[in-house]
Amino acid sequence: MRDKFLLAFRSIKERKARSILTVLGIAVGIAAIVALMSVGYGMEHAITGELTEMADMISVMPGEIRGATYVERGSFTDRDVSDLQRIGGIKDISTMTYDAAKVEYRNENVPIFVFGGDTKELEGFYVDPVGLKEGRWLRENDYKGCVIGDRVANDFFDEVLHVNDKLVINGEKFIVVGVFEKGDMLYSNDVDRNIFLTLRAAKEVLRTDEIKYIIVRVYEIDEAEGIAEEIEERINDNHGLDDFAMAMTMGSMIEMMGDIFNIIRGVLAGIAAIALIVASIGIMNTMLMSVMERTHEIGVMKAIGAKSSDVLSLFLLESSIVSLMGGVIGCLLGWVVAKVLSFLASTASGLEIAAIVKPEVLLGGIAVALIVGVLSGFYPARKASKMSPVEAVRYG
């Protein structure tokens, strides 16, 4: 076996340039698989990781998600809230409201979404993951304070807003006490374009008692799903509709994300599969050329007593070595590419994505390379083994 290996290796070395190209072809295919999967896992981990931190939370919204858009049905009433308080297993309920308001700064008027809620809840929900660039977060008695999102501070007005700047919201004066960092992919919609007030101040300036959003925290994460169903039932009863409210646990959001990731993974696998098919055509081509070039050599081997199976195994070994090298190099290459891609994805999305290179992906990559090598080497190897000794020797 060792000798066969050496013999096969010798002929790979003999055709250095072509062997290197074939190895590279496979390496690129495998690298694509490894890199795409590793970045995929990293992305999934980054996103579900952030969501998991909030696993005890149920978001309750007056409306439903149709396709990709949220359709609002109205708003919650105080009765809805007091009904929720009667459901067992709930630790905490906080209500929020939001609406567009006219915001004025140095004679410029811009419509901006104003968000009001329990400051502690909002802190856990937005400040902890996104962070503040300037100033501090709202306190419960900050009736005249506001915290603004990154785009509100930097893009919406001619001048950049800072802490202690004064805004007029629907005619009421507020002072900026804090500015958010730029939110990442998950948060930018909710934070960057909004102004945050205490619940009381928001109700006042928006002139509303409407509750647009309720966040419920439960004691037991296991019970969240059941509690969410009960919440929907009670609120739907109150409004006489069977789909007025939507209560979503973080678990179901994570599941939703999981579905999305399955699709992404499928697409990535498709791309990688194409890369591999191209690579395997490359191996087959190399091996076929190798067989053709060595018609004479094969004939000589058979003339001096090599069996068909000897020739078959030699050529299969050769294509396996080539593809194995391609697999190993591809894994290393894929690793590097995954790191680079995840770095780029991190800067692009603002989300901290670290590529996760799983050992099983590496092993799988090498295994796939080997399988591809053996399968695409099989036809040329068989062709070689079927040659008659005299046919081959004649063309020497």
């Binding site: 058979k302 001096i304 069996k307 008659s388």
Partner: protein, 221 residues
């Protein structure tokens, strides 16, 4: 040792048929040194290829040690080529990626001989053909005569009863040709091996114990 019964071979190239061998009945005895001569195209190579089990007859049969080779499987034929017959070609047919030692050891590799034993035997054989100082040379680093001597050493590696040479001196100069014939003669005289050579050279043919002449695919008496 080897005999043929009505051995015929027809090559077909599209519409054209060439009868390269017609009903050849030949008997070669154990330990014989036989030379086959004849003009180019008379079917000498075709005959040797059939005797050496490199090719299959269109009709008739080759018997080796009483066994009808036409009835053998591919693997059994490979085994005969490996164990019973040493073949020497006009073009040497060494494997150019392997050095002399590895070329000589190759048939033993296919026979499953261990590495140590293989290389030891190969070296002995190279010494025997006078190339003890060239064992690590690649074919491209050897002269034609030297390459043919490597090929002879290779043909002997599995200790065959028969050595078949198709114009073994055809591609080397007279001096190297004589050296090659000396070796073949020695194999016959000292070791009792059966030698079958095809040659153009009457002088070389004269060194054989028996000479057969071929013409138009027939062996003449």
């Amino acid at each position: 040792m080897i005999h043929t019964e009505n051995l015929s071979k027809t090559y077909r190239m599209g519409e054209v048929e060439v009868q390269a061998l017609r009903d050849v009945n030949l008997e070669i005895k154990d330990g014989e040194f036989i030379a086959i001569i004849g003009p180019s195209g008379s079917g000498k190579s075709t005959l040797l290829n059939l005797l050496g089990c490199l090719d299959k007859p269109t009709s008739g049969a080759v018997f080796i040690d009483g066994i009808n080779t036409g009835k053998l499987s591919e693997n059994a034929l490979a085994e005969i080529r490996r164990e019973k017959i040493g073949f020497i070609f006009q073009q040497f047919n060494l494997i150019h990626t392997l050095n002399a030692l590895e070329n000589v050891a190759l048939p033993m590799f296919f026979a499953g001989v261990g590495r140590e034993a293989r290389l030891k035997k190969a070296e002995e054989l190279l010494v025997k053909v006078g190339l003890g100082d060239r064992i690590y040379h690649k074919p491209s680093e050897l002269s034609g005569g030297q390459q043919q001597r490597v090929a002879i050493a290779r043909s002997l590696s599995n200790d065959p009863e028969v050595v078949i040479g198709d114009e073994p001196t055809g591609n080397v100069d007279t001096e190297a040709g004589d050296a090659i014939m000396d070796i073949l003669e020695g194999l016959n005289r000292d070791e009792g091996r059966t030698i079958i050579v095809v040659t153009h050279d009457a002088e070389i043919a004269a060194r054989a114990g028996r000479t057969k002449r071929m013409r138009d695919g027939k062996v003449l008496d």
